[in-house]
Structure formats: C-alpha cells, structure tokens
C-alpha cells in the first residue's frame, strides 16, 4: 500500500511529473536483451582472472609468474610492477575521497597485502578456465604478519600497523608515530558538560556493528581494448563512467583523453561500484597481450572478499533530557573500520548521528581506523545506518524513561528550518516534523498491536543528499520526439525520472523522450549515480535543456508565422499565435524549412540539494524459543521533496528497508582469527529473500526543496538509515531486551533472552 501526502501547493499543476509512465528500458530488461557488462563479446576477446592473497596481512617478498606465463593458452600476466608509481593524491570519488596511491595498491598489491583476497596479479587467457588455472600457478613468498581485525584493538598503541607511513590526522595536525588511526575528527556545539548537569534523565550505551556488503547481484566486471595507438576503450559496470575514466587515468598515468569509458547496464551498485578494481588490470592485460580485448568478471566470493563492504563500527552515545523531555546534551564517539586504506564514512556518521534533533550542547568524536579487511566503499547513506542504530536506540530508551510516546519525543525535539546541525550547517526548509506527523497519523501507528511476543518500534533517519556536476544534451526529431543524452548511469529507473523532467518542460509525454545513457566521449562531464543525486541534478540539467529547446522552437514558430517572438505563447506542448496553433510534433516536422536541426545542451552543479528525513514503523514477533524475528508489518515514511516518478520513489524506499532489515537481522562479515573471510557466498552471507519480508508500506511526504526547479530531494539513501534501530526498538518492546549489536540474529537474541532470565 502506498500513500502520497503533499504539502506542496503545486501538486496538480504538472502534466508528466508525479505520474507513472512505463520505464523506457523496461522491455529490454524483462526480455533479457539489456546488455550488462559481462554480456559483452568482442572478436578475439581474452578472459581474465585475478590471483588473490590467502593472507590478511603479509609482506610480499617475491612473486613468480613464470609458470602462469608458460601455461598453454595464457596471453599475458601482470603484477604491480606493470603499474606506474603513483604519488599520494586525494581524489573526490563522490560519497567519499580516496588517495590514488592507496587506490593503485588496492588494484594490485605492491609490497604488502592488507586483507584476505587482496589482488596481486592478473592473467589473460583464451578462456576463463585457463585463466583461473594459470592464476593458481603464481607463486608468492610472504612474510605473514599478525592481522588486526577489530576497530578498537586496531586503535591501541601496541597494535600491529597496516601502513608504516600512516600518521594520525589529529584534528588537522599530523601525529609523529605510526598508527592505524588515519584521522580523528571532532564536531561540537555549546557546553556538553553543563548540558548533562541540567539533564533529568541520561542514557549512555555502546553499539557494535560488523562489516556488511552492498550485495548487488551483478558481480564487478570490466572489458578493455588497448589499441596500438594508445587509445583505450573500457566497457564496465559502474555507477559513473567519468569517475572510472579519472581513476584509470591516474592509476595508469594516462591522459583522460586517451580513455573512453562505455557504461554498460549495471546490476546494482549501492555505492560499491564507484571505485575501480578490475578496470586498470584489464587495460594492462590488453596492452600486454598484443592489444586484444580482455574481459574479466569477478566471482561472488571475490566480490564479497575484496570489494565493497561498509564499515563495522563501535559507537558510544550518551544523551540527556530534562524533565520536560527536551534534549539537554548529546555526546558520541564513533570509531569506524576503514578497511585496508583510510576513508571510512565516519565523517558522514558524525553528521547523521544527531541530525534529526535540535541540540544545543553536543560533542562528537569520530575515528577513521585501518583494519585488515577490504577497503570499505560507499554503501547507501554511507556511515548513516551505524550512527542511527546507536542514536535512535538511545532516543527510544530516553522517551521510555520519560514516559513519552517515541514519536512525540521526536516531535518535541525534531529539527526544523533555522536549526543548526551539530556539525555546523543550518537547515533550510526540511520536512522532518511533517514526516513524524505522518508517521503518528498513519494507519499502521494507529492500529493496535496484538499477540504475545510482539513489539512495535520506531526510528528516524537523516541523509545529506548531494548535488554535483551533471550534463545533458538533446535534439528534436522530426517526428516530434526528443533524443536525450545524459551521463547518468541508470540503476533504478532514472532514465525515466530524468526524461520526465524534460517532457514536463516541453509539454510532451514522457514516452516522446528517448533517453540514452552516453559514454564519456558523447556527453558532458557527469558525476556518478550516487549521493541520491541523479534525479535531482541530472533532472536539473535536462530542465535547463528543455528551456533552451523551448526558446529555439519559439523562434522557429515565429519564423513560420512571420511574427515577433513575444507574440507566441507555449502552453502544454502547443504553440499559439492569434487563432493559429501548432503542436510540438507539428513544429518538429517543420525544422528543415526553418533553419535545420534544433539541439541544446546544459551543464549544472546545483549546491542546494535539500537533505531528507525518514521515519519508519515496524511490528515484529520474536519467537522466544528460537530467537527468530518475524516482521509483521513495516511502514516507511519519507520526505521526497517532489516525487517525480512515484512508483520508483516508493521502490527506493522499499529497497532501502529490505537492505536495512538484512543488516539488522542477518548480514555480517565473519572472519576467522587469521582474518580469512569464512562466509563469502550468498548462502552464508544471508541477504533477505521474498519469504523474509512482508509487503512494505510507504508514505511519501512532499516538502518541496526550494533549491530545485521541481522541488526534488534525493530519495535513494535515507531509507536504509532507520531500519536497524526501528527493529531493535521493536525487539525491545517484544522481549524487554535492548540489542546493541548487529546483526540481531536468532543466536544473539536467544543469548540475550537467556541472560535476562538469569
């Protein structure tokens, strides 16, 4: 069941926006015709494989590839020796920054392997089986070192060190001894000590989460053709083709103009397909194999062992409220596992943790910590879920201690326009209170909860959203359609949500737009599909394109009618002058006689991207014998600003909930004491299946974003933020046990219930 509550007065003025046209790529995707990266087959193509480290932490003493090279059918073998030395340089990757030297070392290890599955060498052969067999013949001598597998142990002074040159960035100053703490950040406002003195109720708790994976169903893949003239073409599964071009150019020290990246259809990303893994390796293999195209696809166990995950974390939260229920002070310490190289989303976690609330006294410390696990990548609202699990559990406990309804407590303390977030920014118009009101008035929250061992939980979530650079170009076709090129990879229906914004401006149906995802040589620079930015920013680019097309078409109409431009009106796709009129299609058929083709392009970099909030309600039944949590009912409420394509807004909400449920109840990386990942299959890394979930109800709130022509706010990320806290709070109401560790799997719940019984 879905509901759409708009507080936007312009709700019904749109002809296309807010409707649900059939997506343009629908037929391709239900017939198996859509071309994903692994579907490509080029003449003379070779197949690649990666040799990976069996150790979590070791020095590489030597690498012998001679047997692999001599293996029949092998055409090339590459190691880090084939990579140029790259200087340390920080690159913006969207949803986080990365040091390109670390990125290079992550692609192929040089002197040290830092996690189980760290890539060491690449092989290209005439088929994938031979490539794998040859890779197994590579001999590496290691000096095996003690792995560091837990964030707080990694922070200790006597911990083994991952990167010998790592010095802590301590609030902007470099430390003077090696450490696994890459950085310590701090945000504060007011006087937290004094705030706690004024509090009538204080709750202080610790929370633990394990690494979890994005879990996209399509494994990473890449194909490259390195030409004798030095021109390179890469076909791959990526959230952003321009980002691939930049990273490959930096890692291989090649000008970007030598590289064309063709983004294939992508089988899910969720943040995990922004950084490159295979792309530089297949380029090297193509060059070394006599310029033959080389395709490589990761196995699922490699995907789990060596790509993706988001941080495991330790978060301590202390919050106090006065007797009236006003939050008096809040303090948090967040330590996030970055994996093998710096760059955990702890900064985002610090921003998220108290973001929904108006807090005058607060102190937040964040630590970015290296451990011998894969380099973490963005994962849907990166860092946010870990933080909200902690804060929203404490908020629930505070409201309980105060005898207040948990939504009322949030309404009393909820942030609104003009309030300052602890980490600095002051909110413009936001929709948190509207979201909470809708939750409180929802059929779900008003329904009684029946049955023993049942409980209802509530939690909120915040996400910043992002703007970034987007380009688009369009041409009017003589049959009244418009061809549209954007650089935004379509992961979840954005071809259509973008096309709809152009169609709206031109007064024509969404079906009259032909949207194409273009490669890096065919459209202007466009950042990747991340940060909940694509419908917002690329939608804005096509809005600008539409304005230009309209101006040009008005000029053509003026030519045909032999009148002045300002005499012509354009309404709902019809050009009007005196008693004459022409439809968009009629005018489009007369471009040749009025001066030839009509094209337009635009580039934008919007800054006012409008953060968003969510409130989730969940009912659970907990089996006291087995500890299994069954979700009886789930409702997600979220401010979308303006829902351009409501079916797909709701689908983002439902998908975020499902991932959050998996994180909350089942998913975790399990390592043995030597740092070997022991659950690297989709059987043992257990993601939710259809039988684990009920229907997921949604309520879309529309509090228009003043920073977008149609009021859009990003919608993709925030729905993963509340679920673990909402479930923890529901489990508490069902059992009386407060779970502070994810996942809340049956074994952990039974253990807690047994402890409760004594």
């Amino acid at each position: 069941m879905t509901t759409n509550l708009s507080v936007d007065e312009k709700k019904d003025v749109y002809g296309v926006i807010g409707k649900n046209p059939l997506r343009h790529d629908g037929t391709d995707k239900v017939t198996g015709r859509a071309q994903y990266g692994a579907d490509i087959r080029l003449p003379g193509m070779l197949y690649g494989a990666i040799f990976r480290s069996p150790h979590a932490h070791a020095r590489i003493l030597s690498i012998d590839t001679s047997k692999a090279e001599a293996y029949p059918g092998v055409r090339a073998v590459v190691t880090a020796k084939d990579l140029p030395d790259v200087e340390s340089k920080i690159a913006e990757l969207g949803e986080g920054t990365i040091n390109l030297r670390h990125q290079s070392n992550n692609v192929l290890a040089r002197d040290k392997v830092l996690y189980f599955g760290h890539a060491i060498a690449g092989v290209a052969a005439i088929n994938a089986h031979i490539a794998e067999e040859a890779a197994a013949l590579i001999k590496v001598e290691y000096e095996v070192l003690q792995p560091v597998l837990e964030v707080r142990k990694a922070m200790q002074h006597d911990s083994p060190i991952l990167l010998d040159d790592m010095r802590t960035d301590e609030l902007g100053k470099k430390g003077d001894y090696p450490s696994n703490i890459a950085a310590h950040y701090q945000a504060q406002v007011g006087d937290v000590e004094k705030g706690f003195q004024d509090a009538a109720v204080i709750v202080e708790r610790e929370f633990f989460t394990s690494m979890v994976h994005q879990g996209y169903i399509e494994p990473q893949n890449a194909t490259a053709q390195h030409n004798p003239d030095g021109q390179i073409t890469i076909w791959c599964s990526t959230q952003g083709a321009f980002g691939v071009r930049e990273q490959v150019a930096e890692i291989l020290q090649i000008p970007i103009s030598k590289i064309r990246v063709i983004p294939m259809e992508i089988g899910g990303g969720f943040g995990g397909k922004i950084g490159v893994y295979l792309e530089p390796v297949v380029v090297l293999l193509s060059r070394k194999s006599g310029h033959r195209p080389v395709k490589m696809t990761m196995s699922r166990s490699d995907v789990l062992a060596a790509t993706g995950p988001t941080s495991g974390s330790y978060v301590k939260v202390k919050m106090g409220a006065d007797a009236n229920g006003m939050i008096a002070a809040a303090q948090a310490m967040l330590a996030y596992e970055a994996g093998a190289y710096p760059g955990s989303p702890v900064g985002a976690g610090m921003g998220v943790i108290f973001a929904p609330y108006r807090i005058e006294n607060a102190l937040i410390d964040g630590y970015d910590v290296l451990v011998n696990k894969p380099r973490t990548a963005a994962y849907r609202a990166p860092g946010g879920t870990n933080a909200a699990f902690a804060c929203e559990s404490v908020i629930d406990e505070l409201s309980e201690k105060l005898g207040m309804d948990p939504i009322d407590f949030r309404l009393l303390n909820g942030a609104k326009e003009g309030d300052r977030r602890v980490d600095g920014p002051v909110y413009e118009r936001i929709g948190f209170l509207e979201t909470l009101e809708a939750a409180k008035n929802s059929p779900h929250y008003r329904a009684p909860l029946g049955g023993s061992n049942c409980g209802r939980g509530v939690a909120s979530g915040f996400w910043f959203n992002y703007g970034g650079k987007s380009s688009a170009s369009a041409s009017v076709n003589s049959d009244g359609t418009v061809s549209l090129l954007t650089g935004s990879v379509d992961i979840g229906g954005t071809r259509t949500s973008i096309a709809m914004q152009l169609a709206e401006g031109l007064g024509i149906p969404a079906e009259s737009i032909r949207p194409v995802v273009a490669d890096t040589d065919s459209v202007g620079y466009t950042e990747g599909t991340y940060g909940s930015r694509t419908t917002f920013a690329t939608g804005w680019a096509v809005y600008e394109v539409g304005k230009q097309l309209k101006e040009k078409l008005l000029e053509r109409a003026a030519t045909i009618w032999e009148t002045e431009l300002d005499q012509i009106r354009f309404e709902h796709g019809i050009f009007l002058f005196d008693d004459k009129q022409m439809t968009f299609a009629e005018l489009a058929s007369r471009l040749d006689e009025t001066g030839g083709p009509v094209v337009a392009s635009a580039a934008v970099r919007p800054e006012q991207f409008g953060p968003t909030f969510a409130a989730h309600i969940v009912d659970v039944a907990v089996d006291p014998e087995t500890g299994k949590v069954q979700i009886l009912r789930y409702t997600a409420i979220q401010d979308a600003g303006k829902a351009i394509y409501p079916d797909y807004v709701e689908s983002q909400m439902q998908g975020g909930v499902a991932q959050g449920v998996g994180w909350a109840l089942n998913e975790e990386y399990l390592y043995d004491d030597q740092g070997r990942l022991i659950n690297s299959s989709l059987l043992d890394y257990r993601m939710p299946v259809a039988l684990d979930l009920p229907m997921i109800d949604t309520i879309i709130i529309e509090v228009s974003n003043p920073g977008h022509p149609y009021g859009v706010r990003g919608v993709g990320e925030v729905p993963i933020v509340p679920p673990p806290a909402a479930l923890a709070n529901a489990i508490y109401r069902a059992t009386g046990v407060r779970m502070n560790r994810l996942p809340m799997n049956p074994a952990r719940i039974v253990a807690e219930l047994n402890q409760q019984k004594g």
Binding site: V30, G32, E265
Partner: protein, 160 residues
C-alpha cells in the same frame, strides 16, 4: 585441454547443436557459446537464481547444470518467454508494477515465476514468496515483484 563433446538440445523451441567441454555449465554455454546472455551469473553456485532456466519443465539454476546434461532436453530461457505476438503477461506486469530497478535479477525472477504459474496458476502471496525464495533481488524488497506475479496470474486466468 578437455576434449569437447557434441550436444543437441531444443532451446526456446529451436534445435541447437553445440560443442562443449565436460566442465562447462549450462549457464556458461548459453552465455558464451550460444550468445543467450539473458540468463545472468550472480553467484555461480546456485544461491541467487539469476541464471534460472526451465529444463524439461523443471526450474533449475543453469549454473548448477552441466551443459552436457542437456543433450536431448528442452530448455526455456528468458529469451523464450515472450511470443512473436508480444510480451508474456509476467513481463508486462513486471514493467507495469515497477517490479525491477537495476533489472539484473529480473530474467531469473520472470523465468522462475513462469515455472510457478505453469504449476500453480493462481498462487497465494505466501506461495509466491516461498517459490521465489531461491531468487535474490537486492533493489526492490520484493513487494512489487510479488504483486506483479499475482497480477500476471490473475490476468492469465482471465484469458484462459
């Protein structure tokens, strides 16, 4: 190198004859030898369902079937679900209900759902969820997939 074996099979109603190594999975041969790339490789060990095909009436993960095993068999892949007249009701309903985001798991879900409706023409929500529990989707939360399958079942009933 392994000696190749000759296999004959009916795939999507057409007679095929191909050579394959004994170690090659049906999935690999469909994708790499026959160019039928609609079946996807998500895990290559039977956990995700993205490579689902119907083999002599039974739903299977094509990554767990050796290509040599299909000699003399009848195989339906996602490429064989639509008819010359147009999309299958399941395909239409998946689009209409927005039951896909990235679309990578979609071929597997549609093939699995076809096998379900062949056996149980009017399944309950729980029967749909149980049947599809072998197919992983990471984008949708399954809500819209379940609705699409039930709606397709109803529209098929009407046309019978």
């Amino acid at each position: 190198m392994n000696k190749k074996i000759r296999v004959q099979a009916t795939i999507n109603g057409e007679e095929f004859e191909f050579l394959c190594e004994p170690r090659q999975s049906l999935l690999e041969v469909l994708r790499e030898t026959l160019g039928l790339t609609g079946a996807k490789e998500g895990c290559n060990n039977g956990n995700c369902g993205a490579c689902n095909v119907i083999l002599d009436g039974a739903l299977v993960n094509s990554c767990l079937v050796l290509a040599v095993e299909i000699d003399g068999c009848n195989v339906t892949t996602i490429e064989g679900i639509a008819t010359p007249q147009g999309l299958h009701p399941l395909q239409q309903k998946f689009i209409a209900h927005a039951a896909l985001q990235c679309g990578f798991c979609t071929p597997g879900f549609i093939v699995a759902s076809k096998a379900l409706l062949d056996q149980i023409p009017n399944p309950s929500e729980n029967e749909v969820r149980e049947w599809l529990a072998g197919n992983l989707c990471r984008c949708t939360g399954y809500d819209r997939i379940v609705r699409a399958v039930m709606d397709a079942a109803q529209s098929q009933e009407k046309t019978l």
